[in-house]
Symmetry: C2
Subunit: 197 residues, 2 copies
């Protein structure tokens, strides 16, 4: 299988970690962000959104990283449970991350990391606004992880998906130290050989 990605994308990293966890080898094809390789006709034919990552498995092309994680796990019969309730539980927490947690984390990442790279100034009002939502949702995740090793009980694609968002936010100085259960869980995720690979 081929994975088209940017080196720094947390959305691509979660797919690489899931594949490593499942023992699925991927041919990683890194696109050049500066030359906007993701906006060229060749790539847009694979993914009309011009976003990464995109997985190509024979004649099946798939994008949206939660869908790719779901696909690999479903195919391997691991990291997703084996009944509709545990599958839906993993899909729930991946959706929660993509819809509620990650957008606010990424607002902070954009303002503090990506905007300065382009010569812009971080907008502190936007950061403050986003941080209120980050804190609100971090409390929910922290509560869920209290007394659990993994978000849904057993290690699943949800842990890996959320952890890649949290890791990028940490690079942008979002402090998760007040959330003890999140901090302990992140330690467990980072200890996985799949994460280190």
């Amino acid at each position: 299988m081929d994975l088209y990605q940017f080196e720094m994308s947390p959305n691509a990293k979660r797919v690489r970690v899931v594949a490593a966890e499942l023992g699925i080898p991927l041919q990683v094809k890194s696109l050049d962000f500066r030359s906007a390789e993701n906006k060229q006709p060749d790539y847009l034919a694979k993914n009309p959104n011009g976003k990464v990552p995109t997985l190509v498995d024979g004649d099946f092309t798939l994008w949206e990283s939660p869908a790719i994680c779901f696909y690999l796990a479903r195919k391997a019969g691991k990291l997703l449970g084996s009944d509709p309730q545990s599958e839906a539980d993993a899909v729930r927490w991946m959706t929660w991350n993509a819809s509620h947690f990650e957008p606010h984390l990424f607002t902070v990442v954009f303002e503090r990391m990506f905007k300065p790279m382009r010569g812009g100034q971080p907008d502190q009002a936007k950061i403050d606004h986003a941080m209120k939502d980050v804190e609100r949702y971090a409390r929910i995740l922290d509560q869920q992880l209290t007394g659990r090793d993994w978000v849904t009980g057993a290690l699943s694609i949800a842990d890996i998906a959320i952890a890649t968002s949290v890791e990028l936010a940490q690079m942008a100085q979002v402090d998760f130290a007040p959330y003890q259960a999140i901090t302990a869980w992140l330690g467990r995720v980072r200890e996985r050989p799949s994460w280190k690979a």
Copy 2:
């Protein structure tokens, strides 16, 4: 199964339509938005985000409408295909809607419908900005639906999820007439007995 919802929520509507399509009866429990029933301890114990909808199926409680649609379809063995590729395809388009299309549609809905209800003025700059993304993603959906009756080929939870977002946007005067394939597809969705119910 119990479904906690707001009457007007497109996120709740997609679950009701999926359940009707699958022949699954739901006990619908509508919360009172004005008294913030969704922020009371009873409800927060079911869904710590204080959002709707929430499904309660025996001792299993589930939230995030794409996850609920997935759960009902997976349980019934319909509207999702029967192999990892077709399941991932439906999850892909639901994720695409939740992460890329719907947020911009809802910005327009918020500015034109919800803000005036609270006595505010629509922010035209925000609407114009969101409409650029709405148009960008509507073109992608329109292209996907060209030559297809349903988003993934066969009717799936992705059609129902996306159609509820589009319907709400239409109420906020977002015009989909330029997108012929979307318009024809919406007509097909609306003809389903499950949609009319």
